[in-house]
Each structure stands twice: as C-alpha cells, then as structure tokens.
C-alpha cells in the first residue's frame, strides 16, 4: 500500500485569522505536490459561522460577545456555527483528496474515524450519528467537523474538546443542533496527558490515511 508523506505542525495558541491565512498558503503548496500537512493548534475564544449557518443559531447579541473579546466570523467551511477556545484541540489536515478517492463524504467519515480511534485509546467509546457529522459520546458531542476543499486539497477540519470551558457553548446552538457538548477531561474527570494525546492523534492519522511523517 502506498504511503503518503506528511509534515506534522504544532502551531500552539494562534489566532483563528492567522491560522486561516497559513492554511490557505499550505493548500496552495499541497496542490502543487508539497507533502501533506497535519496541523494541531488552539484558538483564543472565537465563534465561526460556516457556509450553511442559520442566523437563529447564535443566541447572544454579537456586540455583547465582542465586548467580551469574542469575535464572530463568517468562514468558508461547511456546516453551521461553532466555538473554538483554549482547551479545544483544533486539527487542520491539509490533505490531497486525490490520494483518498476524491470523495468529500468519505473524507469526513475518515476524520470521524481518527477521532473515534483516538478516544478509544483513552478508553472512551465514541460513535458517529448518521446525518450528524461529528463524534459523539453518550449522546453528547465531543468533536465538530467542517471542511473546505479547493483543487481537491482539504483545509479547516476538526475541533476536539479536551479541557475546553464548556459553558461558553451556551451562547449558541452548536452546528445548529440542540446538543450538549462534552470534553475528554469532563468524561475522564481528570487532567489529560497532552503528550500522549498528540502522539496517539498522529498514530491514528498515520493508520487511517497511510501517512509517513517526515
């Protein structure tokens, strides 16, 4: 089986807008046959509205949020509104979907599988819910997924709640659904070993997407 070269990048805490610009530059590079990139980072609190957002899903006035330092941004990923904030691991795979069958939904399912396998490494049983893209634990949502694809190269990606302040989600209906969010730390009721987390994430991506990290 072919393996695909992938660079792993940890951008740490970075503003949503800076990370977006960097992703777009990397999409261009990968579309010109640069190695694929797997990025992890965290964002200061920010609400983003995907392309299929409905206005009613933001429950609080934008000005009130702004006064608390939380911006609301319209972005070019699929899906509705979501929240990023410190403690959420944001995963941006800049992958060439020509390697994976040029199938947008298969790619979404593969991203879900990586998260399901990662959570299994922490002894958590997570599932998909057909028609509700994302990853779920005991009826609560732990990971949200929304992607953009340009020239068959992906960007945007996955927000996985590690030890996120979950009360922040109360300002919206996440992904336009009446759902309760959860996090890895909430489920385990303990602090999370982030070194193990990143190493298991890479391993599960390597397996699911036939990657060689270099």
């Amino acid at each position: 089986m072919t393996n695909y070269l992938c660079q792993f990048l940890d951008w740490g805490l970075i503003s949503y807008q800076d990370a977006y610009q960097r992703q777009k530059e990397l999409v261009d590079k990968v579309s010109r046959n640069d190695p694929q990139k797997l990025i992890v980072c965290e964002h200061p609190a920010v609400l983003t509205c995907g392309r299929t957002s409905k206005p009613g899903n933001l429950l609080v006035n934008e000005e009130i949020l702004k006064s608390r330092g939380i911006e609301v941004l319209r972005v070019d990923r699929g899906g509705d509104i979501t929240l990023h904030s410190p403690g959420q691991m944001v995963i941006y795979p800049i992958f060439d979907l020509n390697f994976y069958g040029r199938d947008l939904h298969v790619f979404l399912r593969k991203l879900e599988q990586v998260v399901i396998d990662l959570l299994s490494d922490f002894d958590i049983v997570a599932i998909r819910i057909p028609g509700k893209t994302g990853v779920w634990v005991g009826g609560k949502k732990i990971a949200s997924i929304g992607i953009g694809v340009r020239k068959w190269v992906s960007f945007h990606g996955v927000g996985l709640n590690i030890d996120t302040e979950l009360s922040l989600f109360s300002v919206m209906r996440p992904c336009g659904l009446d759902v309760e969010m959860t996090s890895l730390a909430r489920i385990k009721a303990t602090s999370i070993d982030k070194i193990k987390l990143v190493s298991r994430l890479k391993e599960n991506f390597r397996r699911e997407f036939n990657l060689t990290f270099g």
């Binding site: 995907g50 699929g78 199938d103 979404l108 992607i147 694809v149």
Partner: protein, 83 residues
C-alpha cells in the same frame, strides 16, 4: 454568427453516494473571462465546501443555478463560450 464552441459547466462527481449539492456563491459573474482551473463557484454538501473549477478558457455566458439552489451531480451550472 459566433463560431466559438459553447461548453456546459457541470457539477463534477464529489464522491460515491453524493447525489446533489447546494450552490453557496458564484465567484465570477456572467460576461467574465475565465481561465482553465479558475475557481468559478463554491458549493456545499454535508459539512464540506468545494470550489468548482473551469475546464475551459473563455467567457462565462450564462449562470444556470443561482446561490442557494440545489443541483444534482452532472447538472448544468453554467455555459462557457470558448475563447
């Protein structure tokens, strides 16, 4: 009378089991000149957006599906007159 060839821009296959998508926005307007591989419009399906590129160089003569409307795979999105 124009001797230029007219091409239909069709919604490409986005994967097995994907039957249709929604037009999010057009990135060009009728009358614009377009190049091969230029992104012409953004579409969305499930939690993914995708930019549909032009396969021809020429003038965008007519947009057949407006923003917000659904289109089936293989359906006609626009007409391009080859330059």
């Amino acid at each position: 009378m124009s001797k230029h060839t007219l091409y239909e821009l069709k919604l490409p296959s986005l994967g097995e089991g994907i039957k249709s998508a929604t037009v999010v926005e057009w990135l060009v307007k009728e009358g614009d000149m377009v190049q091969v591989d230029d992104d012409l419009l953004e579409i969305a399906t499930d939690k993914a957006t995708f930019n549909v590129p032009s396969e021809h160089k020429g003038q965008l003569k007519k947009i057949a599906v407006k923003a917000g409307e659904d289109i089936v795979i293989g359906g006609k999105l626009a007409i391009i007159e080859e330059a």
